[in-house]
Each structure stands twice: as structure tokens, then as C-alpha cells.
């Protein structure tokens, strides 16, 4: 458009010169054209800044939430918008969400509002549905039945000391799994916060405190080394390291972790430096067998009550000695 106006300006200038008009007309014309050109350029620039932008997305549906009209997509790099990651997107057309299933491969357009404050998906198309079967067929992991003995795999705690679950025989033990970089407040931070509350409560009753133990196991052993776990644990123990005598934060090798997770019904997988996972809380009786499981439906009061019940079955005597004897 700018070029067109300029060429028009040249033609008009030549025309005026040929027919011998006064130069003042030429100046007026140039001025008018300049003003028009400036206004047109300004409008074009303003329009380009307010115009929404579109980016092509290609990815896999991990989940959907019809209540919020959002789907979570694991997508590749979207140049100019977002690096490869898994994140939720609103879908403009609500009926589309009914069609989508976890495991579906999709293409879509990410539309970013001109003001940069909102974004959503349009033109969502399913390119491959074969992943649905795999998503559905993911068999539930094998759980140890209540009453079965817990694994005796080695674990390493926040102080770098190695121990085994069997070392806690004589105590009721509450075990759960986390990773320290978990950013989901209703998952790992909630678990550790509620375990801290249980720890605080038990501390008020020394007999129960002595007959119980808490254990938090990381499923991110590569990152959650002993020093990382110690720093994490201290944050939940109000920086009192004496609390580690009652609450261990541990990790293990990736292979042993898989076995533990299988035994205790934990599912986890890593993608894009984040770990997707379920929740698993296990109560181990004083005889070293599984007493009870919880997944998502639980409260700290319920866990503590069950833990105290198990502790109450422990004969008064030597659980502390037993632990001290067997742990290095």
C-alpha cells in the first residue's frame, strides 16, 4: 500500500508538472499524501498490534476437564509461543472436548489474543486415535495384599544412611511417595504438609511417638539426593533436625524404586523434566506387613487415627532398640 501511494504520488506530480499547475498545488498534494500515508501506516501498525496471533500445535491429549473446558496436551515446540511441554489449554468449541480422549494425537491452532492476555485452541483435529487403547489398557500395578510382608529393598535417607523397611519392625509406619520439585499443591506439598501435621501431633504423646515412624520416599532419585532430601525435610520439620529420628526422607535406585512402586500401587512417569504421578500412602503394621492403603481420599486425622490404632497394638518394650540395632 505504501508503494502504491508513492507511485501514485509520482504520477500525480508528473501530471501536474505537464499541465503547468502552480507549485503550491504540488506542495499541497505532497503534504496531503504524506498525511494519508502516515495515517494509513499508523492504522496498519495499530491493527497488527491488536490482531490475535495463531500458532500451529501438534501433540497428544493427556487428559480433559469438561467442567473447565480444558484439555491437557503434551505438545512439541511451538516456535514463537511455547517450548515443548505439557500444559492445559482451553478449547473454544465445547463440543470438541466430548470427542477427545486421552491418548489422541491432535493438531490445533493456538490463538493468542491481541493483548497477549488470553489464549485458547481452535480447529482441533484428531490425527490418530490408536493411543486410546494403550491409555485404557494400562493395567493397574500389582499391589501387595493387606497382610503381605513389605519389600526389604535398601533405601538411603537424608543423611546418606542405608536402611530397609524391615528395620522398622516393632513400629507402625506410615509411608508415602513424593518428589521434592513437585509444583502441584494438592499432591506432594499436601502430602508432606499433612505428614508434618501428623508428626507434630504424635510428638505430643511420647508413647505413640516412640511406637510410630513416618517415611517419605522420593520417586525422583536422580535429583532428590540425600542433601536435597535433607533440605526438603527440614522445611517441613521447622528446621529441627531432631525430627529426622521419627520421619525419614529417602530415595533408592531407579530399579528398586520401580519394585517398591509396583508393590505399593504408585504410578509415575517422567516427561519434560516433570513427573506425573498418583498418590499412595501405605500403613505398615508393626510385624512388617501391609495394613492399609490410601490414594486420593484421605485426611490427616484419618491417617493419624489408623497409625495410632496400629501403634496401640505394639507391645510396650523395645521398638526403639530394635530400630537402633538394625540401622547403621
Amino acid at each position: 500500500m505504501v508503494c502504491l501511494l508513492l507511485s501514485q504520488l509520482r504520477l500525480n506530480s508528473s501530471h501536474y508538472a505537464l499541465i503547468g499547475e502552480e507549485p503550491v498545488n504540488l506542495r499541497k498534494l505532497k503534504l496531503t499524501s504524506a498525511v494519508v500515508l502516515f495515517v494509513v501506516s499508523f492504522v496498519m501498525v495499530t491493527a497488527s498490534q491488536n490482531k490475535s496471533k495463531r500458532y500451529n500445535l501438534r501433540g497428544e491429549v493427556l487428559g480433559k476437564d469438561p467442567a473447565t473446558n480444558e484439555i491437557t496436551v503434551k505438545h512439541g515446540d511451538i516456535p514463537g509461543f511455547m517450548p515443548a511441554m505439557s500444559m492445559p489449554y482451553k478449547v473454544k468449541n465445547p463440543s470438541v472436548i466430548q470427542e477427545l480422549q486421552p491418548g489422541d494425537k491432535i493438531t490445533a491452532e493456538v490463538v493468542v489474543a491481541g493483548n497477549g492476555n488470553d489464549y485458547w485452541l481452535e480447529n482441533v483435529r484428531i490425527t490418530d486415535q490408536s493411543g486410546r487403547k494403550a491409555a485404557k489398557a494400562a493395567a493397574p500395578p500389582h499391589l501387595l495384599a493387606v497382610g503381605e510382608p513389605v519389600p526389604t529393598l535398601p533405601l538411603t535417607n537424608q543423611d546418606g544412611k542405608t536402611f530397609r523397611l524391615s528395620d522398622f519392625k516393632g513400629k507402625a509406619v506410615l509411608v508415602t511417595f513424593i518428589y521434592t520439585r513437585c509444583p502441584m499443591p494438592t499432591f506432594c506439598p499436601r502430602l508432606s504438609s499433612q505428614f508434618a501435621r501428623i508428626h507434630d501431633d504424635l510428638k505430643k504423646t511420647p508413647d505413640y511417638y516412640r511406637k510410630t515412624h513416618l517415611l517419605t520416599i522420593s520417586f525422583d532419585p536422580k535429583y532428590d539426593t540425600a542433601p536435597v532430601l535433607r533440605k526438603y525435610g527440614l522445611a517441613y520439620l521447622d528446621n529441627d533436625p531432631s525430627g529426622f529420628a521419627h520421619w525419614d526422607f529417602a530415595s533408592t535406585t531407579p530399579g528398586d524404586l520401580r519394585q517398591l512402586a509396583s508393590a505399593f500401587g504408585l504410578e509415575y512417569f517422567e516427561e519434560d523434566n516433570q513427573i506425573s504421578h498418583t498418590m499412595s500412602i501405605v500403613l505398615i503394621a508393626a510385624d512388617g506387613t501391609v495394613a492399609r492403603y490410601w490414594s486420593t481420599e484421605w485426611t490427616a486425622a484419618e491417617l493419624e487415627h489408623a497409625l495410632r490404632d496400629q501403634a496401640a497394638k505394639v507391645a510396650t518394650g523395645s521398638p526403639q532398640q530394635a530400630k537402633q540395632k538394625s540401622r547403621p
Binding site: Q49, G116, P183, Y223, N273
Partner: protein, 118 residues
């Protein structure tokens, strides 16, 4: 200067002006993209904790509106870009570390977005 020369100069001036405006537009778009990225990263990584109440958490994550309007962060540390970057990457207290999960640019865009929260 002849009429033709004046026209040429005027034309060049207008082209330069249009190019300048186009440049401004491009820069504006770049900042808009960064703002969008920063906001999206904030929604994905920060908002769950910092923009909602979680009574079951040991410590309530602080609101981040006006973070840079104060001289100090909720932790008491100075409210500087460097300190906020450190907190994001290394975590602090019960706040998880985002180490190895966010790129340098991600953190840049996040910090830039945090500056816009009033």
C-alpha cells in the same frame, strides 16, 4: 532542489518512517509474545499455589501481586530480579525448586511478567 528531487526525498523519508513504525510494531509484537509466554508460564507453574488458598499446606504461599513494588520479598530478601530468579530456580522453604524445569528464557519471561503484577 528540483520538484523530482523533493519528491524522491519525501518518498525516502516516508519509506524510512514506515520502516521505523514497522520496526516498532515488530518490537511490540516481540514484547507481546514474551508477555504471553510469561503469563502462560505463570499460569502453569505458579498460579496453582500463589493464586489460590490451600489450607492443607504447611505454609501458605504468598500472593505475588506487587512483588516488585516492595523493597523486600515475603521472605525478607531484597526484591531484586536476581533474588526472585534464585528463589524460582532453587526453591525456598516449602516452595519447590524449578531447577532444570525452566529455561533461562522461561525465567526471564516469568520475572518480566511478575513485574507487571500490581
Amino acid at each position: 532542489m528540483t520538484g523530482r528531487s523533493r519528491t524522491a526525498v519525501l518518498g525516502l523519508g516516508l519509506i524510512a518512517g514506515a520502516a521505523l513504525l514497522a520496526g516498532c510494531s515488530w518490537l511490540g509484537d516481540r514484547f507481546a509474545d514474551d508477555k504471553t509466554r510469561g503469563r502462560a508460564l505463570f499460569v502453569v507453574h505458579c498460579a496453582d499455589c500463589h493464586q489460590a488458598a490451600h489450607p492443607e499446606l504447611r505454609k501458605q504461599p504468598p500472593k505475588l501481586e506487587g512483588l516488585f513494588q516492595s523493597k523486600t520479598l515475603p521472605s525478607g530478601a531484597p526484591a531484586t530480579d536476581a533474588q526472585v530468579r534464585k528463589t524460582i530456580i532453587e526453591g525456598r522453604g516449602t516452595m519447590p525448586a524449578f531447577d532444570q524445569r525452566l529455561s533461562e528464557k522461561d525465567v526471564d519471561d516469568l520475572v518480566r511478567y511478575l513485574h507487571t503484577l500490581k
